[in-house]
């Protein structure tokens, strides 16, 4: 098992090195002077010269790359051209909010999606099945931020005779009037840890709509994959054998069908991580939550290159780690993967 993890980890390294080269070249390919791109448009000639010397933009390209990698390995990702805050600090500030949101979105998608997909497959061809498939199709084609608008309109703002539905807050992570302490930065967790129940409840209410908006595409995908996997497995010989042996239907479903069908589902859930991170850019902006996504949004609007560069690298690293975890999990569930 350990060998499998190590070998899998070794495969990630060249990808990250390649990515760092691409991102390094990216800032240098930007229109105009890289120093000016890093400093922003209002930079003085003097500071441009300083940065040029500091980053060595006047030196050969390969030397510049090694300086850049050296800084990265020491945890120096540069500073925002807008606020002057170090990129690492911005990332630390935004991370809890986004992790909280992504976790809830994925929970919503998996808890609802796996049973839905399973039952749709078990009742293959019935109206329930058709309804599930149709609804999951709608989930994939609605743009995330349009769905976020719709949810906000109906469940936060409230429209016409349905305005009693508008019970959720429209923006932020917690009401400003609540003076909660935040030891971890994960607001719901903080409320539970400090036993400030109203703060936890309030933070949770702020999470519902963004999590549903962000979780809908993964939900639709998980439903479809689970359904397809269960349908696939149900036709297998070993299921027929189990039935012929006279096993209870419940045992067959749990031990034979579900366990084997879950393999592709686990991979899919893992692959949604990247989608969640980019979806968070859109969702957090609509619901005005301060997280990685909204920080990235600001960086994109203001073309804050150090932040963009650092965040993309960090997100790719997280993405790689999540994929690694998924692969390891896969090895745990399916012994065949470990040996091959």
């Amino acid at each position: 098992m350990l060998r499998f993890v190590v070998r899998r980890l070794a495969l990630t390294v060249p990808v990250l090195v390649g990515l760092s080269i691409l991102l390094f070249l990216w800032v240098r390919a930007l229109p105009g002077d890289p120093a000016r791109a890093l400093l922003g448009q209002r930079a003085t000639a003097e500071s441009v010269e300083n940065v040029t010397r500091l980053y060595g933009f006047d030196r050969p390209l390969h030397e510049q790359y090694f300086t850049y990698i050296g800084a990265l390995l020491q945890g120096n990702f540069g500073s925002s051209t807008q606020t002057g805050q170090p990129v690492v600090e911005l990332f630390k500030n935004g991370f809890p909010a986004t992790a909280e949101l992504a976790f809830c979105a994925l929970l919503f998608a998996a808890v609802l999606g796996i049973p839905l997909g399973y039952f749709a497959a078990r009742r293959h061809g019935t109206p329930l099945d058709n309804l599930t498939v149709g609804a999951s199709l709608m989930g994939v084609v609605i743009p995330v931020f349009f769905l976020a608008y719709l949810l906000k309109l109906v469940f936060a703002i409230g429209i016409g005779p349905l305005d009693f539905l508008g019970v959720f807050p429209t923006a932020g992570r917690q009401d400003a009037r609540i003076a909660a302490t935040h030891p971890t930065g994960f607001y719901v967790l903080d409320g539970i840890l400090t036993r400030e129940w109203d703060a936890a409840w309030n933070a949770l209410k702020h999470l519902v709509l963004p999590a549903v908006a962000l979780g809908t595409i993964p939900l639709a995908i998980i439903v479809r994959i689970t359904r397809a996997a269960v349908l696939d497995v149900t036709g297998e010989d070993y299921v027929r054998t189990a039935e012929a042996k006279g096993l209870l239907q419940g045992t067959i479903s749990r031990r034979h069908v579900l366990r084997n069908a879950l393999l592709p589902v686990v991979t899919t859930v893992g692959l949604q991580a990247g989608l969640l991170l980019s979806g968070a850019v859109l969702t957090e902006t609509v619901f005005a939550r301060n997280g990685l996504g909204s920080t990235l949004f600001n960086a994109i609007t203001l073309l804050d290159y150090p932040v963009l560069q650092g965040f993309i690298l960090a997100i790719a690293l997280m993405y790689a780690l999540i994929n690694l975890t998924v692969d390891v999990l896969y090895g745990v569930i399916d012994p065949r993967v470990r040996v091959s």
Binding site: W26, L137, M138, P143, F146, L275, L277, I300, A320
Partner: protein, 312 residues
Amino acid sequence: MTLIAPGSGSPVGDPFDGPTAHAEERGTSLWRGAFARLRRDPFAILGAVIVLTFVIVALAAPLLAPYEPARAQWGNQVTPGSVPGPSAEHLLGLDAFGSDLLTQLIYGARQSLLIGVVSTLIGLSVGATIGLLAGGIGGWIDVLLMRFVDILLSIPSLLLAVSIAAALGRTSTSVMIAIGVAQVPIFARLLRGSLLAQREADYVLAATSLGLRRRRVVMNHMLPNSLGPVIVQATLVLATAIIEVAALSYLGLGEPNPTVAEWGRMLVKSQDRLETSPQLALLPGTLIAVTALGFTLLGEALREALDPKFRR
């Protein structure tokens, strides 16, 4: 590459020993059969109708639209608190800039089709070339190209598109390139996988035994047989592309002129009027979803029609 020794038996079943094929399909090509199956699938027809309507509206926009687009000539009727609703002159009312909403929506179809098709063509041609080289030549070229594709895949596609669009500047062209490049890994992997699956097929062995050059075997025999999944994917990717254009607009990348008719941009610009004039967001948003639905239905029906597993 291991070749199956003659007489050892192919793992692929004999195509003619299955249950009796449909009489009407016998003797027709794969694509003719697929088309016949598509015509019997109600979802495929729905998808085709949506796609066809979208394409016609996009192409005939100047004939269909009641006014010229992006003129904002009724800007004086728009106040911060309200936008004029439907009237005799303006069937759907005005947009937030004082242009006719119906006109903007019709021209928006044009913009979505143009960006969607061009970006998918970029993704398809670059991706397929990489996939063809990797799957057709193999060896170290395969390893090198696939590691490059892995790097592209390590960035979520929307962020990849964002980085490219940010580097290229705010124009429609840079959005097309950005979305296209973000699709490259999908097509590259797909075609490579598809080619690798063909490599062991009997007809490849036959062609090789006849002494055909490798290039000829790949280009004339393996490639045409591997294109099915790629075409299906292109249809599905068109749906994603139309949604991603909207997402990039939302992020402030793309055409800088705020009055240009583009569904994603119209949706974004309506954000602060959500309470007072929800139609400004609902109409373009619904159009994006319906168009994406059309391409998705068509693509999935095509996938099933081409997949021998689904042949009934």
